[in-house]
Amino acid sequence: MIHWEAKYLLNRLPVEGLRKFADLIEYEGPILSHFKDVAGRDYLFYWVDDDAQVVRWIVWSVEMQTLVAYLNKEIGLYDMMRLAQAGRLFVVDMEHMEALRTVGYANLEDLPEAYLPLDNLIYAYEMPEAYNALIAEEPSMYLTRLRERALVFEMKPKDSKFSTTVEMGDAGMFLRRLDRSFQNFAKDDFFERFKNTFGDFNRLKRTLSELMQIVSPRIVTLEYRSFVVGISSDNVHRPEDTNFTDWQENILVNYQREVVDRNYNDPATVEAIVTKYGEEARAGIFGPFMDILNDSNYRISAYNRVGTFKRELRPVDESKELQIVSRAKRVVDPESKVLVNLILELPSNQDLGHLSRKALSQGLLFSQVVSEAHMSLTVIETDDYRVTLTKPLDYVLRLEGDRYRIELSDLEISVIGTSREDVQRKLVTTFVNKYLDSRITGHPAQRLASLFQGLGITLVKSG
């Protein structure tokens, strides 16, 4: 044993009522142990030396936050030692398993180098189960624990007009789709794994419902420079039945592997999905996820916090998408809308702006869901201008999933919005700006000037 003399000797460890909470590293006896005192303060005992009479331990008080960071593999053992509270460490020689022989008091720099775990080893195992209850009681630690395993998504607009910011409606839509996809995956996965262990289908449904309350995805990180959101599922609050612990522990990683970390344009991947999942499951799990991938306004990437996964998520070819989820099986978003072409028989003097429900139901001759509608307008108003057209401006309104698109191909205008009002607002702004640009000599839009002239535009500045 190294001969070491403490600058300050104490007659006892100045801590009351120590009790061991867990051995964190051990082999045929503890190497690193976590203790708590009567006041709930946390201490670490680290074995550094021994001789025929005593075992020598370095003992220090540690913040729970620091300890959790160690158990989460964010910092090493030496980091924990350096973060000892007030920089104070005790050197404790312990005799015959129980009796303290000497207690010295030191700063880190006073210790022999041979007592410092300079390899700063990262904790090698999963956090011991005993810490779950501790973490569940401490909100900041609960978040730390969930963040550790978070699956992070980043949305970057393709159009840099508004820098990397994301419209709130788009972010909300993204989260709704992701939530739906994850929840459907979790339900399907649970059902497939445990359907044979439940004799009673209602009990299976009840259990699943209870578990879904725990594992439903939660937002654990958020950035807005570009929209970055980390989602995680709870692995702290355990289900009463321990048979489901492994399922709970792995559901997020399984979702990552089965849904997020996929190349949907690879025929083998598509075949594997179609073979493994039934039509309903595919529609519920992969439908909303592919909607995310096929959002033409954004580039999406994903990675996990532990650093074992990173992927740019590419749009899915229409043919592959249809192989995975047929149009007929698309799960309908409760908020989604369709365009419907109606043929009504109405009195010739009927004001079409005020159709009654009765007139609609009685006069309906034919209806058909359509993907686009041909429309026109003769007056355009913005905050700054009122534009009157002598010739109606024809445009095509399309509903693409849950997005509205308006196209005027002649005028090279194509705008997308999250609602009809939104897309019309964007059309008006784009139209007026382009018209004004077309009047500027040398501007690229000048080549469209004759088309605008053909519309017979009268532009009056408002106010």
């Binding site: 590293i25 082999y27 025929a52 041979a114 090698a124 195992y125 999963e126």
Partner: protein, 147 residues
């Protein structure tokens, strides 16, 4: 069938353990077991329960306020269910402690229900093996690889 007696019954008795040792949850093994050793692999100290090995080396038992589970574990031989578990566990220990433990190699042996009782492996793949009196541990373990 005669009940076999354990090689370290006397040691277990001397530890004044209040519960069952080995625990009633121990089972009869049938597996390839791995154990940390020093060279030469047939050095008998390699196959002593840790409390006896420490005594032989003139070292006190490493513990603080030991409970019955720890005392019982001291009377068994530490083993792993796979070579990977043995190596991973070793690498999870800080270097200064690895040096102090002194192990350098992994030895392997097939252990069966005729050889002793095994505790339930923990999440690290570690278990305690309580050998029967007639099991020749030294002859059974062969050198596998370095740690």
């Amino acid at each position: 069938m005669t009940k076999k007696s354990l090689k370290y019954n006397a040691l277990i008795a001397s530890m004044e353990i209040s519960g069952d040792c080995p625990s009633l949850t121990c089972s009869k093994p049938q597996l390839e077991a791995f154990r940390w050793v020093t060279l030469p692999v047939d050095e008998s100290l390699n196959y002593l329960p840790n409390i006896l090995r420490n005594q032989a080396k003139g070292r006190p038992a490493r513990s603080h306020w030991p409970d019955d589970t720890f005392k019982c574990s001291c009377c068994g031989l530490s083993m792993f269910t796979s070579k990977e578990a043995a190596v991973h566990k070793f690498s999870s220990i800080p270097e200064l402690n690895r040096k102090k433990l002194g192990f350098t190699h992994v030895a392997r042996a097939t252990i069966t229900l005729d050889h002793g009782l095994a505790s339930i492996p923990n999440r690290e793949g570690h278990f305690d093996f309580f050998e029967y009196e007639d099991f020749d541990t030294v002859a059974s373990f062969k050198l596998d690889s370095s740690l």
